[in-house]
Assembly symmetry: none
Homo-oligomer: 414 residues x 2
């Protein structure tokens, strides 16, 4: 079974924007055994959009559109799909009512334009949107289906998962697809590939994909078979040797983020965490608190960007700052120890570094990073040189800190 995906919106036709909704949708469709054979980006233009929907429907039985469901006159997806299918748009007073209630709950009056969102293609099922105002639509036509989904990724994903996947499961013939995702911290992509390519290159099924972020690599294995047992056996044949080669550099086997893994380790050890951040400016705290329920183990932290705050809040001695500089091993150590004491946490992480683009010196070039880790057994400091721009250096530094803590918490007690 084939699918085609259409991203709608003139802003997606500028030199600055790429459509990423289709990547999520492709992943989900592939998992069902559905292949994506075409993708389109079309501006806010009824006829051009209708042309593309007709073409896609002429050769694929699943067509998914995202975007163009908003309340403005630019939002023409409803009109275009209705035109392509030769159906009418029908006003649903109950949708307008729900939209009005939604605005009322926020103590706001609904703008008149929002009523555009209450028009539904004749014969379509309405897909509830619990994260925004634009309802989606599911339209079947002689064995094919067209889905109209909202453009904002968080709305689109929630709607696809909750409303479309269950409906698709009825349409798509069953084929077993099993996946395994390994996540690895603290290695470069080419080093990793050199290590594991001799294993995975031998196999077409499972397919192996490597995705690299700043200090974070995901390895996806994906096997298609008739039975779960066959697929799992194929995956293990490749993943087993890969896991042995990578050892404890693997931090998760189920798609869990390193923030979540660290959180579970802290919880299981009844430990608590605080952070002291300089060059990352709050990024480490932000990542830790992106996990729901993180207040169970994360107490808070200190963004000691200025030297004065490092001294006043964390007790880093001014002489130490003067002698070694803020980006140094002793300061990273004093920051971690000071934060731990100050917050009364069992564990503390500190980050100090040169994120650039300015501020580098010959001895401490842009990308110099020190990570401190304080726990009941003492304080340790990691020194690394990171390549890249300001954003990558900051992300990489926060990743190093999280992995440093993960290894400490995973190690058998001394």
């Amino acid at each position: 079974m084939n699918a085609e995906i259409v991203a709608v919106g003139s802003e997606m036709l500028t030199p600055e924007r790429v459509d990423t909704n289709s990547l999520y949708l492709t992943g989900e469709l592939n998992t069902l055994g559905v292949e994506v054979v075409g993708k389109y980006v079309v501006g806010d233009h009824v006829n051009r959009l209708a042309d593309v929907v007709r073409l896609a429907l002429s050769r694929s039985s699943i067509v998914i559109l995202s975007g163009g469901l908003g309340p403005t006159e630019d939002d023409l997806t409803r009109d275009a799909v209705a035109a392509a299918l030769g159906r009418k748009l029908i006003y649903h007073a109950e949708i307008a009512g729900l939209l009005e209630q939604r605005f009322a709950r926020l103590n706001r009056k609904m703008a008149e334009v929002n009523k555009r969102q209450a028009f539904v293609i004749e014969g379509a099922e309405i897909l509830a949107n619990d994260r925004g105002t634009a309802p989606g639509q599911w339209v079947e036509e002689s064995g094919s289906v067209v889905m109209l989904l909202p453009g904002p990724p968080h709305e689109m994903k929630a709607m696809f998962e909750r409303q479309c996947l269950p409906r698709l499961a009825r349409l798509v013939p069953k084929r077993v697809i099993r996946t395994l995702e390994l996540r690895v911290a603290g290695m470069g992509e080419s080093d990793l590939d050199q290590l594991i390519a001799p294993v995975y290159k031998k196999y077409q099924n499972p397919a192996t994909t490597i995705l690299a972020g700043a200090g974070d690599i995901q390895i996806h294995f994906r096997a298609q078979c008739d039975t779960v047992a066959e697929a799992d056996a194929l995956i293990c044949e490749v993943a087993g040797p890969v896991e042995l080669l990578l050892g404890d550099r693997i931090y998760s086997r189920n798609g869990e983020s390193i923030e979540a893994v660290v959180g579970k380790l802290l919880l299981s050890r009844q430990s608590s965490l605080t952070v002291a951040e300089s060059c990352t400016g709050g990024l480490l705290g932000e990542r830790l608190t992106s996990v729901p329920g993180s207040s169970e183990y994360f107490l808070g932290g200190f963004i000691t960007y200025s030297n004065a705050l490092k001294t006043a809040v964390l007790g880093v001695p001014p002489e130490m700052l003067a002698e070694h500089g803020a980006v140094s091993k002793p300061v990273a150590e004093a920051m971690a120890a000071g934060a731990r004491r100050r917050a009364g946490a069992t564990h503390a992480l500190s980050i100090t570094g040169v994120a650039g683009p300015g501020g580098g010196t010959e001895a401490k070039p842009v990308g110099t990073v020190y990570i401190g880790l304080a726990d009941p057994s003492g304080t340790e400091v990691l020194h690394r040189q990171v390549l890249g721009d300001r954003t990558r250096i900051r992300m990489f530094a926060s990743q190093l800190a999280l992995d440093f803590l993960r290894r400490r918490l995973s190690a058998p007690p001394k």
Copy 2:
């Protein structure tokens, strides 16, 4: 004049890959005054590709394909375009000769499959590829042009720049394109559209595009004319009234982020900033320090996630936390005032809220946010109810805080 861009290759239809060649091509075409009205990604499949080329040619006079010009059986762009135009492919012995020489220079023997690359569409001009083996093709047909370019970005860019741009300059009437970008904080997309649509809807030129993020909206105006003066006048005709309608909700006119705008305002007033974050967990600090040079005005901050830290570090009275709860006006006020005192900054922002998914109550549902702002004149608190998931609520809260400070700093001194 309109263009459409086709990326060819099944690997571009996986969940991990996006087509980026089209971004470069869009930028170059826009500079010539050519608008891109459709983009496609098609796998290695002759009929599907030919369909897309026919559709694109039926409505745009410039069609650019990248990829699928290599020597393997997967490389079908030549065949598909020939089929779409109803022309033959003709073997050019002199191209095969050049390819053989190229291999000989590398001391390699050319594989037989490489001869596929010597087939040229009847009537096409050959575009030399000085960075790879695949020659490009330029095919004109009743006033339209189809370009076949190689897929690797460095080959595609060099060929487009050296071979296609000079040819395009002869086809495309000279046009000037001017743009203006307004950024707006603190408004919903539909409220904003209702306010300004009566102005911008009257104009096709400039084209107006609205992009909405969490509490952040970008409005792009784009005018095409014969001269810079005309284009600028057209933009002002629309942007002038829009600016008046939006007033001080506009925070930048040159693409600058709100973090950068706030930073400049702080610098110009020789002021300094600290933050006290609860539900955002460091995000506000992270955003402020994403701006290079932010250490000039940002001193640092306090991630007071636990109540104990709110008391110990910021001096929020335990009785206040017990009586009003951590998510409350008095606590936001005490956090801002405490952070300002503690860091010795002229200004302090605080954020406390319920980011969810858990922790909501009837009185304080998920999305309840209080923002505190302390400065030499005292402390003020903003209360807002934000819709969305944890990520959006946190982003929206940080945006509200930055905008609260921006307005305070922009206001004439009392």
